[in-house]
């Protein structure tokens, strides 16, 4: 068993506003190996972004709070290191890029300087050297170095996202967290940016946590995938295992609800019902109310994680090998 780069164990995050508490992330388990690309899929509101912010310790407090858990990164528990240490990790060991490129860049700062900012924070080199490095990074993401002195509003959405990627990768982080990086872009630009991410991932040998609700992107880029529902992982495994042999009723429902090029279908089959309100989660399995295969036990107890195959895990009582 190779040692993993990042190991999240039993992470729980809550948001409290006035008297209302939302359990955004509940007992999350996630593992990312060196150089691996792991997908995190789920509907909007499943807790994907919160999990990512949790790794970076960027959860706004108030109203958010990490209730429990351990996040092991290269042997250290990120939830216990000092803020100063965490700042040295952000941007240089673990980087994150966000969904909306239009608002992710400081509008009154030159794009080159924004890349240089990351460099100067983590590397002890002169401004001149840093500027050169930033220019090289611009070229690597497909932007001519001459555009160093321009401002974000002079770039299109896709190019802004490239700049964001440049800022994130310039210090060669071990892990890149990408939170729906292409959702806000046009389809053709999406493809370009994804190609860029793939290329850079290989060049820098960066591990990646790709958060998305687009299963196509996962298939394209990821080695492993985790399916998230109401704050927990319901199924995880390699892309082949989960996509070709989905076991959890939710995962199966997900695949049934997207149109398939091969099968002839009259209508799409959505999963009936809606994700539960994170302030009012049901006792027991969170998916039980919508699950066609639920049994009595599902409504009262939360299922453990069960290993089906080498690396294929599911969280469902249907696969429990315990006695009734």
């Amino acid at each position: 068993m190779e040692s993993s780069l990042l190991k999240i164990k039993n992470l729980s995050v809550e948001y409290t506003v006035n008297k209302y508490t939302a359990k955004a992330v509940n007992n999350l388990y996630l593992e990312i190996g060196h150089g691996e690309c792991v997908g995190l899929v789920g509907e909007t509101g499943a807790g994907k972004t919160t999990s990512a912010l949790g790794i970076m310790r960027l959860i706004p407090d108030p109203p958010g709070k990490i209730i429990s858990g351990v996040i092991e990164f290269e042997g250290e528990n990120l939830l216990e290191v000092s803020e100063k240490k965490m700042r040295s990790i952000r941007g240089s060991m673990i980087s994150m890029i966000f969904q909306d490129p239009m608002t992710s860049l400081n509008p009154i700062m030159r794009v080159g300087d924004q890349i240089m900012e990351t460099i100067l924070l983590h590397e002890n080199i002169s401004k001149v050297e840093a500027a050169v490095k930033a220019q090289r990074m611009l070229e690597m993401v497909g932007i001519p170095a001459e555009r160093y002195n321009e401002y974000p509003h002079q770039f299109s959405g896709g190019m802004k996202q490239r700049v964001v990627i440049a800022c994130a990768l310039v210090c060669n982080p071990k892990l890149l967290i990408a939170d729906e990086p292409t959702t806000a872009l046009d389809v053709t630009i999406q493809a370009q940016v994804l190609e860029l991410i793939k290329k850079l991932k290989v060049e820098f040998n960066t591990a990646m946590l790709m958060i998305t609700h687009d299963l196509g992107v996962v298939r394209d880029i990821c080695d492993k995938v985790n399916v998230m529902y109401a704050g927990s992982i319901v199924e995880s495994g390699t892309v082949e295992q989960v996509f070709d042999y989905p076991q959890h009723p939710y995962t199966q429902g997900l695949f049934k609800s997207i149109p398939d090029l091969d099968t002839d279908s009259e209508r799409l089959e959505p999963i009936l019902g809606m994700m539960p309100d994170p302030g009012n989660l049901p006792q027991g399995c969170a998916f039980a109310p919508r699950c066609s295969k639920s049994i009595e036990k599902c409504r009262t107890e939360r299922p453990d994680i069960i290993q089906l195959d080498d690396g294929h895990f599911v969280s469902c009582f249907l696969f429990s090998t315990e006695e009734e």
């Binding site: 948001y15 955004a24 706004p60 958010g64």
Partner: protein, 287 residues
Amino acid sequence: MKINKTKRQNSHMQEIWRKLKINKVAMASLIVIIIILFVAAFGTYLAPYHFAEQNYDKVLQYPNKIHLFGTDNFGRDIFSRILYGCKYTVFIGFGATILAAAFGIVLGLLAAYYKKLDNLIMRIMDVFIGMPGMTLLILIIAVLGTDIKIMVLAIAISYTPTFARVTRGAALSVINQEYIEACVAIGANSWRILFKHVLPNSLAPVIVQFTLTAGLSILLGASLSFVGMGVQQPIPEWGLMVSDGRSYLRSDWYMSIIPGLAIILVTTALNYIGDGIRDALDPRLNK
């Protein structure tokens, strides 16, 4: 389409009201304003003494049980004068603001909707903004006289550009939305579009502006009266009362300080309400 819009706008307003209710200070201020409006309407009947009733043997009394706020240098009961003066404050403040809002909203809507008028209207507004309020007011009153109606009109002119600008901004973002395109496509008349669709949905920041401007109008009115360019003696306008008390500040400070407190009560309440509405409009963190 019309049905959809009314439903959406109603629940938008209800949402704002709901958020506003949570804000205790804003609600308290709202109650204060309602009381002020009441006093403005009925102050004449509530006051124990007539505002001009002079009593030379009761001159310059400190606040006491009979004269709650004391008496001034003519022996007039200050408490009664404050109650009487309330209606001037309200008339000037709200009157000017209503006028300014009426002019400003129309101008702002026109500027937002008709691109050709936009530049012209906004340039004219710029001229008025370029001149500070007090200066413009002193000019207008110097020329046209110190009638209270002139005061209200002058203050209204002073704040019309602000309403025009706010309305224009809000209207522009509404106009760019597709349902307006749809209205035009089905052949709706421009005025109808402006007043039935654009205006209701641009209203929120305008309401904030209304409360803030009402406070400012009251301050301007009081300032004008203070320098003698507004309401004249013996009308108990609060600003004028502050000015009256100037020579007596040393010993009978209540003559000036108390009317000022009355002004502050109203303007602070209006500002709290304005702030409260603005916060309620804000799309907040909902988790």
